[in-house]
Structure formats: structure tokens, C-alpha cells
């Protein structure tokens, strides 16, 4: 067996086994270097996997040679590869930039533990994505959640503690719901392997427990994914976490839950439950629309930079769900694409926040006046990523919005109503992004809050790179587009 065949396993194993080793790297800076190297290596593995599945094939891996459905099975297809790129890319980019910001926020002696938890989150998230087994997904979900509580609470901001407690409560409820659902299915089918599950549900005579399971799983994952109105843990958790943790988690954590949601509903239930797509669409679409409109409206009136962006994240999750709820190839590929593009835009924006936070202690908008004169590069990156979030043509964000609109138009005459909602919410995004731009560029500086210089070069370089990528993928989106298209085809036509 060549190396490529082992990559799905290595994707999880490399960060997981390095995590305890990082704790040993006590000398200053070494822990950061080690964790960054591991994250970059993970990203490289994800790229290799993406190239391998670009033509639409699926890589299967049986742990220890025990074949599915008995052994632990891993599988990587186009959809997982896309999400893996997002997770490892976010982790690597955030870590590459992180050192100055982390040094500022976390005491040196606790840093090795912090980086170790970071790698555990990473391995948990990638584990969720590559697992082909419902129970292993749960295990990895717990690993990533527990470790991310540490990350969020690890900063100097004591308000993070109640925020994390709320996150922990809601996250545990979500995970428990998921586990109840999986348990019910296991009871009825006797299997935990997703593909096997799909095959056996057809033989189940009493379908009611499966329906209950579908409800539990969908709601549990919706909680994890911060789907409106189950999103209340997000704003505080994002706002009070250390800035680099926000970059990492905002770019990928909720998206992984959406990934599992899509996997379950499309691979297991779609083909086996009667009229599942109607139930699913009728449940998800109103929530998506409400989330888009209400969260955007909240963001329009929010005065704190991080909290504003967190609200916008909830609205963006609404876009992803909206595409999913169309139950069509076009809608699914739009959603997959938006997972990728939103990670680029929001990751970039939170990187800018980290740059600003390096110089400003208070991140309320009225304190950020005139930042552009002292920090021109940071502010320029903000404008680019902000435009991408709005969905201005020429940026990555436009691509997924365009796809989403096209998918909405397939829904017949009331598709135009959905288009109207998407356009109105884009205008709301213009408002909340532009409030920040005005503050950065045209507001007079607040008393005693004038930073003397730009953010550290290391932070700035990564931020700039992400900003450039927002433009690059707006003009040359072919690679993620191909992954998104074959992901949608795989999910809906079940050609695996």
C-alpha cells in the first residue's frame, strides 16, 4: 500500500498523536512551532486528499484492516475533502499568524497546553469529517468540543467562562440528542456504519423509531451548528475567546456540524424515509430564512466588532442551510461552496480583528476611529474580506451567492421570493460591513486610543494572504467548484 492509501488515517492520527507531545515542548516558542508544523502538515495531507478525489472517487480506509461494517471505517469523498481543506486551512493559517497574538493573551507557561488543546480540536474536527461511522463521529465530536472549551476559556477575558459554560451546556445537549438518535437507529438496524445504515433501514418494519431518531439527530446537530434559533451560545463564545481561537473556530467549527447534518440527512435518511425531503425542507427553510434576516438585522445594530461578526456568522449559516434545504444538486453545491467561501471571508475578517486587537484593547466600533491611518494594511484587508462577505462580484463570496440564487430560481415562481430575501440580506450585510469601514476610515480617533503602529508582520502577512485568496477564488473558483459539484452529485444521487 502506498502512502496515499493511508492518508485518510494520517489526517486524524497526525494531529492527535502530536497533541500530547506538544505539552513536552516547554521552551519558549517551541510549542508554537511544533503545533504550526503539525497543522501545516495536516493541511498538506488535506490538499493531497483533495487532489486524489477531485475526479469524483471515494477513498475508503479500514482501520487495522478490519473491513466495514465491523471495523472502524474512514472514507473521504469530494465533500469531505472540501471540508477538510477548510478545517486544516483555517487551523494552519490561524496558527501561522497566531504567535504574537497568543503571546499577548496567554501566559508562556500555559502555552504548550493551549497548543496541545488546539491540535486536539483539529484532530477531533477532521475525525468527524473522515469517519464513516455514526458512533465515531460522536466520539470525535466530544474530543473537539471538550478541547474547544479549553481554547475558548483559555484567554485573559474572564467573561469567557460563563460563555463557555453556556456553550458546554448547549453543546452537550446537542451531542446527547445526536447520541439518542444514533442509539435508536442502532437499536432498529444493528449497525453504526453510515452506508450500512442506509442499506438496512429499508428492512426495518416499524419506521417510527427511525423517524424519532431523525428528529433527534437533526435537532442535535442543528444545535451544534448554531442554526437559528439554537444559536445563542455563539455570540458570547466568539466574542470572549482569544482572538486567534475565534479565527479558527469561526471558520470551521459550526460548519463541521452542518457537514454531519448534511451527511446524515442526505445519505442515510433521504433515500430511505418517505417524503423526507419535504419534511426536511419545510423544517430547515423557514429557520434558514429567519436566521438570515434576523441575525443580519442584529448585526446592523451591534456596536462591538467581534459580536457583530459573530451575528453575521449566524446569518451566513442560514445561507448554507438555505441551499441545503432546496434538496437539489444546485442547492447543495451552492452550500458546499459557501462553506468554503464563508470560511475564507470570515476567517479573514477575524484575522483582521486579531490585528486590530493587538493594538486596541477595546473593540467597540466607537473606539476604533481612524485606525486606517495607523494600520492601513489591516484596514485594507478588512475591506477586501468584507466585500467578499457581502458578495461583491470579483470576490469569493459572490460565487456562492450567485450559485445560491440560481439554485433558488429552480424552485419556480416563489424562487424569486427567495432571491429577494438573499438580495435584501446582502444589502443588510452592506450596512453592517460599511458601519465598520466608516469607523475605520472616516471616524475621528477616540481619546487615548491611538495605536502607534501596524500589527506584527507575521499576523499581517497571513491576513493579507487570506484577503488575496478571497479575490483569487472570486476569479478562479474552479477547484473548490469542482469539489462542490461532485460533492453535491455524490450526496444526492448516492453514487457511492
Amino acid at each position: 500500500m502506498d502512502l496515499l492509501a493511508h492518508l485518510p488515517a494520517l489526517q486524524v492520527v497526525v494531529p492527535m498523536l502530536s497533541a500530547p507531545l506538544i505539552v513536552l515542548l516547554q521552551p519558549r516558542g517551541l510549542a508554537w512551532a511544533g503545533a504550526t508544523a503539525v497543522a501545516v502538515l495536516s493541511f498538506a495531507i488535506a490538499v493531497a486528499l483533495a487532489i486524489a478525489v477531485l475526479d469524483g472517487q471515494t477513498l475508503e480506509y479500514a482501520m487495522g484492516g478490519w473491513p466495514a461494517p465491523y471495523g472502524i471505517a474512514l472514507s473521504v469523498d469530494a465533500f469531505s475533502a472540501l471540508v477538510l481543506l477548510v478545517i486544516t486551512g483555517a487551523a494552519a493559517a490561524a496558527l501561522l499568524a497566531a504567535k504574537p497574538s497568543i503571546d499577548q493573551q496567554i501566559e508562556v507557561e500555559r502555552q504548550p497546553l493551549f497548543y496541545s488543546a488546539w491540535l486536539l480540536v483539529l484532530s477531533g474536527l477532521v475525525g468527524i469529517v473522515v469517519s464513516a461511522d455514526a458512533f465515531n463521529i460522536f466520539v470525535f465530536m466530544e474530543i473537539s468540543s471538550l478541547a474547544s472549551y479549553i481554547l475558548i476559556a483559555g484567554g485573559p477575558d474572564r467573561r469567557a467562562l460563563p460563555a463557555v459554560f453556556k456553550y458546554l451546556m448547549m453543546g452537550t445537549i446537542g451531542a446527547t440528542f445526536y447520541l439518542i438518535g444514533v442509539g435508536l437507529i442502532y437499536m432498529m438496524t444493528g449497525t453504526l456504519n453510515l452506508a450500512d445504515m442506509e442499506a438496512r433501514i429499508g428492512d426495518v418494519t416499524d419506521i417510527n423509531p427511525i423517524l424519532v431518531a431523525a428528529g433527534f439527530i437533526t435537532i442535535g446537530l442543528a444545535l451544534k451548528a448554531a442554526v437559528f434559533p439554537l444559536h445563542v451560545w455563539v455570540p458570547n463564545a466568539y466574542t470572549h475567546a482569544p482572538h486567534m481561537v475565534t479565527v479558527f473556530l469561526a471558520a470551521c467549527a459550526t460548519k463541521v456540524a452542518i457537514y454531519v447534518l448534511i451527511r446524515f440527512d442526505y445519505m442515510v435518511f433521504q433515500a430511505t424515509l418517505d417524503a423526507h425531503e419535504i419534511q426536511f425542507a419545510m423544517f430547515m427553510m423557514p429557520l434558514a430564512i429567519l436566521g438570515i434576516l434576523i441575525a443580519s438585522a442584529v448585526a446592523m445594530f451591534e456596536g462591538h466588532l467581534k459580536r457583530l461578526l459573530a451575528s453575521s456568522s449566524i446569518a451566513q449559516i442560514g445561507y448554507i442551510l438555505l441551499g441545503v434545504s432546496f434538496v437539489s444538486i444546485a442547492g447543495l453545491s451552492a452550500s458546499a461552496m459557501h462553506i468554503f467561501n464563508h470560511a475564507l471571508a470570515k476567517g479573514g475578517l477575524f484575522l483582521v480583528v486579531a490585528c486590530l486587537a493587538y493594538q486596541y484593547r477595546d473593540l467597540r466600533l466607537d473606539q476604533l476611529g481612524g485606525a486606517s491611518t495607523r494600520m492601513p494594511w489591516t484596514c485594507a484587508a478588512f475591506v477586501v474580506c468584507g466585500l467578499s462577505l457581502i458578495g461583491v462580484p470579483g470576490t469569493a463570496g459572490f460565487i456562492s451567492k450567485w450559485m445560491l440564487i440560481n439554485a433558488a430560481l429552480e424552485n419556480g415562481p416563489w424562487g424569486w421570493g427567495l432571491v429577494a430575501i438573499i438580495l435584501v440580506s446582502s444589502l443588510m450585510a452592506v450596512v453592517y460591513i460599511w458601519r465598520i469601514v466608516e469607523a475605520l476610515y472616516f471616524q475621528t480617533p477616540a481619546e487615548g486610543e491611538a495605536p502607534q503602529s501596524e500589527a506584527p508582520v507575521q499576523l499581517l502577512l497571513v491576513t493579507g494572504l487570506v484577503a488575496v485568496m478571497n479575490i483569487y477564488f472570486g476569479i478562479f473558483p474552479q477547484v473548490p467548484l469542482e469539489l462542490a459539484n461532485s460533492a453535491a452529485a455524490l450526496l444526492l444521487e448516492g453514487s457511492r
Binding site: 461583491v392 462580484p393 470579483g394 438580495l423
Partner: protein, 488 residues
């Protein structure tokens, strides 16, 4: 350099220029101004280098990226776009000369940001001009809005930021709320958005829908300022005068009417639209805008606001000419873009020169100013006469063609509108000219002479161009006639 690379280079030059200006601005203002000059000169060299190819009937085109199937970023140079690009790049040079005089004479802040954003706006303008399909056009259209926002908000005080917000709000919300749905609709119906001779929608849409789609386009392209989406233009007058002169008399507003003309000619196709009864309203909407904006202009007391309303009226001339849907009128629409550009930039230059020299902004303050600033006011007079359409100015030529087109179509509404608005133009410009030259200045005013030399030089140049266009318009007409060849 092949014409294909020339297209990309033309869009790239101002982009690189913007970066060079931003960097040079940290070293010295003179170096920065040199960067602007080199950028605009090389842009002229590349853009005007494409002219002979176009004259010979060439249509160079290049595809950058296929973003999605059917959705490409591509550029094609055709006569309308060529004219627009040549106009914008040529006037940018003159405007840069003027800007240096104006910005230094006024001791403005943040000059580096100003010149860098100006270059960025020019890149977007060239992109709009050369866009080969609706999607590419939309991309650069939005970039133009965004890059001009810092120029409008330049002063940075509360009132300016509020006006700039109106500017951005109207332009972005119309483009996202109306223009984008229209583009999506077009792609859905026609399967493409390429600008094609004869249009792409013929036979694919029926009557009430044609009028609706046209409406989405016309009001979605807020830059054309067809009422009621004209409010942003007076709001944009808070910008420094060079911005009002080049962007809000030439690049931005012409991008609007250019887009509408291009959509009428290359997306709908004029014959197809002429047959459709539901497209008739556009003529009336444009006529209404011409008359109403002229009436509003009559009541203005601020020079720049008067010029803004005059611009709104003149823009609708182009829209109306395009909406007559006859070959001669389409040529008239293209020529009017040029004629109005020369005249209006002169008027704005003069208004700015008056402000730099005397800090005067109101019309009633202009009594007798002709004696203090003879060169400036002579140029102002030429510009005003061109707006009215008096020979020997450029404004006469375009009105002639539009009238000819209106008669060809037997369109009495258009004929009447042109006559009425000529009277109104005269009614608001002639009293000013009388005041400037023949009334006495109020006692105790500030002593002043002409504006800085560079500013006066620039406005004399554009005044000369206004006169010259009356005599030497042959090549332009020849080029634009290609657009409608074989039609009608």
C-alpha cells in the same frame, strides 16, 4: 503588444499606478504626482493604441477566467466601449493636471489616498468600457462605486460622510436590488450575457416582460441617474471638485448611460426593442427626467448643485437618444457622451477654480467675477453654450444627431423634449453668464485673481476641446456608425 494583451494592460496600468501612487506618496508629493502623470500617459498610449484596430473593424477580445459554466470574465473592445475608454483616459490626464493645482491650492488632506483611489476608479472605468459580457460589466461597475466612495467622503466630516452614505447606499442598493436580478434573469432566459451585435434576447421574451426587464436594467444602473434614482448625484457634490469633474461628469455617470446604451444595443437589440410596445415607457421616463431636472436646476443657488442637476438632464438625453431606437439616434447617444463630457468637465473645472481662488460656491456671489478671472469664465461660457447646444460648440453636434434620429422615428415627444430643454438650459445658464460678465461686483469682496496656473491650463484645454469637437468630430461619428451598420 497584441491587442488582446493591450486590453488587460489597459486595466492593469491604473491598478499598478494606484499602488505606485500610494507608495510614492510616502516619499514625496512630487514623486506621487509624477506617478499619476506616468500612469495616465501610459494608459492613453495603450488605450488610444487600440483605436486604429477598431477603425479597421477589428474587435479584439480576451477571456480571463471561466468562473462558472456560462459565466466568464471576458473583455471585448467594440466602438462604444472604445469611445468611452478613450474619452475617460484622455480626460484623466487633463484632470490630473487640474487636480494637482486644485488639491495643492486648497491644501487638502489625505492627497495620497485621493490620487490612489482616482487611479483605482479609472481602472474600473476601463473595465466597464471593455467588458465583454454583463457579468464582467457588473463586476467593474461595483468596483467603480466602491473605489469612488473614498473620493466622495474625502473631507471626512459628519455632513460629508452622510452624503457619501447616500451615494453608496443608492448605487449599491439599486445595483444589487435591481441590476443583479436583471442580469440573472437575462442569463436564465438567454443562457449567456455576452454583448452580441443584434442582441441576445430576441424571441426569448414576450411583451410585458420586456418592459419589466428593461425597467430593472434602467433603474438598476443607478449611475445613469434616471429619475427617481438620481439623488446620489447631488449628494456626491460634497466631493472635491476634480472628483465631480471627472467622475461625476464623465467616468461614473457615463458608465451608467454607457451601460444602458450597451444593454439596449447588444443585449436587447434595437430592432427587437423597437417592435416591443412595452419598452416605450423608457422614452417618457427619460423625457420626464430631462424636463424635471432642468426645472430643478433653475431653482438651484449653489453652482455645483446646479451643474449636478444639469448633468442629470444631460444623462437622460443619452438615455432618450438610445430609447428612440433608430440608428442615427444611437450614434447621437454616443456622440452626446463625448460632447457633454467636454462641456461639463469644463464647467466643473471652472466652478472648482472659482472656489480655489475666492472660496465662492453660490451663484449670486458670481457678479462681475469675469473681470477677475477672465480665462476661467471664458471657458465657463463655452461650456455653458455647449450645454445649451449653440454652435460652434460640441453640444450642437450631438443635439443635431439626436434630433435627426427623432425625426427619422417620427418621434414628436423626443423632438418636443429637446426643444423645451434647450429653452430651459438657456434659462438657467444665460442669467449666470450675464451676471458674470455685465454686472458689477459687490463692494468689499475679497481681492483675488485667477486660480493656480495648472487648474486654469486644464480648463482652457477642455474648453478648446469643446470647440474643437464641433469641427473635428468625423472620426468619432465614423467609429460609432459601425455600431449600427446594417441596422434600421
Amino acid at each position: 503588444m497584441t491587442p488582446e494583451t493591450a486590453i488587460l494592460v489597459a486595466i492593469g496600468i491604473p491598478l499598478v499606478g494606484a499602488l505606485a501612487i500610494a507608495l510614492a506618496g510616502r516619499i514625496s508629493p512630487n514623486l506621487r504626482e509624477a506617478a499619476t502623470a506616468i500612469t495616465s500617459l501610459s494608459l492613453i498610449w495603450v488605450v488610444w493604441g487600440l483605436l486604429p484596430i477598431l477603425m479597421d473593424g477589428g474587435r479584439p477580445s480576451v477571456e480571463v477566467s471561466q468562473v462558472m459554466p456560462g459565466l466568464t470574465i471576458a473583455f471585448t473592445v467594440e466602438p462604444l466601449g472604445m469611445l468611452f475608454a478613450a474619452l475617460a483616459s484622455g480626460l484623466w490626464l487633463i484632470n490630473s493636471i487640474y487636480s494637482v493645482g486644485y488639491m495643492r491650492g486648497n491644501k487638502e488632506q489625505n492627497q495620497t489616498r485621493f490620487f490612489a483611489c482616482f487611479a483605482l476608479a479609472l481602472s474600473a472605468t476601463i473595465g466597464v468600457a471593455f467588458a465583454g459580457n454583463l457579468f464582467t460589466l457588473f463586476l467593474f461597475y461595483e468596483l467603480l462605486t466602491l473605489s469612488t466612495y473614498p473620493l466622495v467622503a474625502h473631507k471626512g466630516d459628519a455632513a460629508t460622510v452622510r452624503s457619501a452614505r447616500i451615494y453608496l447606499g443608492v448605487l449599491l442598493s439599486t445595483s444589487i436590488g435591481l441590476f443583479l436580478p436583471a442580469i440573472i434573469w437575462t442569463y436564465t432566459v438567454a443562457g449567456t450575457g455576452d454583448f452580441t451585435t443584434g442582441g441576445i434576447l430576441a424571441g426569448k421574451l414576450n411583451d410585458p416582460e420586456i418592459g419589466l426587464l428593461l425597467g430593472l436594467f434602467v433603474f438598476g444602473v443607478g449611475k445613469a441617474a434616471v429619475m427617481p434614482v438620481h439623488k446620489w448625484l447631488p449628494a456626491a457634490m460634497v466631493a472635491p471638485t476634480p472628483v465631480s469633474a471627472l467622475l461625476h461628469a464623465v467616468a461614473v455617470v457615463k458608465a451608467g448611460v454607457f451601460t444602458i446604451t450597451k444593454i439596449i444595443v447588444y443585449i436587447f437589440g434595437i430592432d427587437f426593442l423597437f417592435e416591443a410596445s412595452s419598452s416605450q415607457w423608457l422614452l417618457y421616463a427619460a423625457a420626464f427626467t430631462i424636463i424635471t431636472a432642468s426645472l430643478v436646476a433653475l431653482r438651484q443657488t449653489n453652482i455645483k448643485r446646479l451643474l449636478a442637476y444639469s448633468t442629470i438632464a444631460q444623462l437622460s438625453y443619452v438615455v432618450m437618444a438610445a430609447a428612440i431606437l433608430k440608428p442615427l439616434a444611437e450614434v447621437g447617444a454616443a456622440i452626446h457622451m463625448v460632447a457633454h463630457a467636454f462641456g461639463k468637465i469644463t464647467l466643473f473645472f471652472a466652478a472648482g477654480a472659482i472656489y480655489v481662488a475666492s472660496k465662492k460656491t453660490e451663484i449670486h456671489q458670481l457678479r462681475g467675477i469675469g473681470r477677475r478671472m477672465p480665462w476661467t469664465m471664458a471657458a465657463f461660457t463655452i461650456g455653458a453654450l455647449s450645454m445649451i447646444g449653440v454652435p460652434p460648440t460640441g453640444g450642437f453636434v450631438s443635439k443635431w444627431y439626436i434630433l435627426a434620429g427623432a425625426f427619422e422615428a417620427n418621434n414628436l415627444v423626443a423632438v418636443f423634449t429637446i426643444i423645451a430643454s434647450t429653452v430651459l438650459n438657456a434659462a438657467y445658464f444665460l442669467p449666470i453668464l450675464y451676471m458674470v460678465w455685465f454686472e458689477r461686483e459687490k463692494e468689499g469682496g475679497k481681492e483675488h485673481g485667477e486660480a493656480p496656473f495648472l487648474a486654469v491650463l486644464a480648463l482652457c484645454l477642455t474648453a478648446l476641446l469643446t470647440l474643437a469637437f464641433f469641427l473635428f468630430n468625423g472620426p468619432v461619428i465614423e467609429l460609432e456608425s459601425q455600431v449600427v451598420q446594417g441596422l434600421g
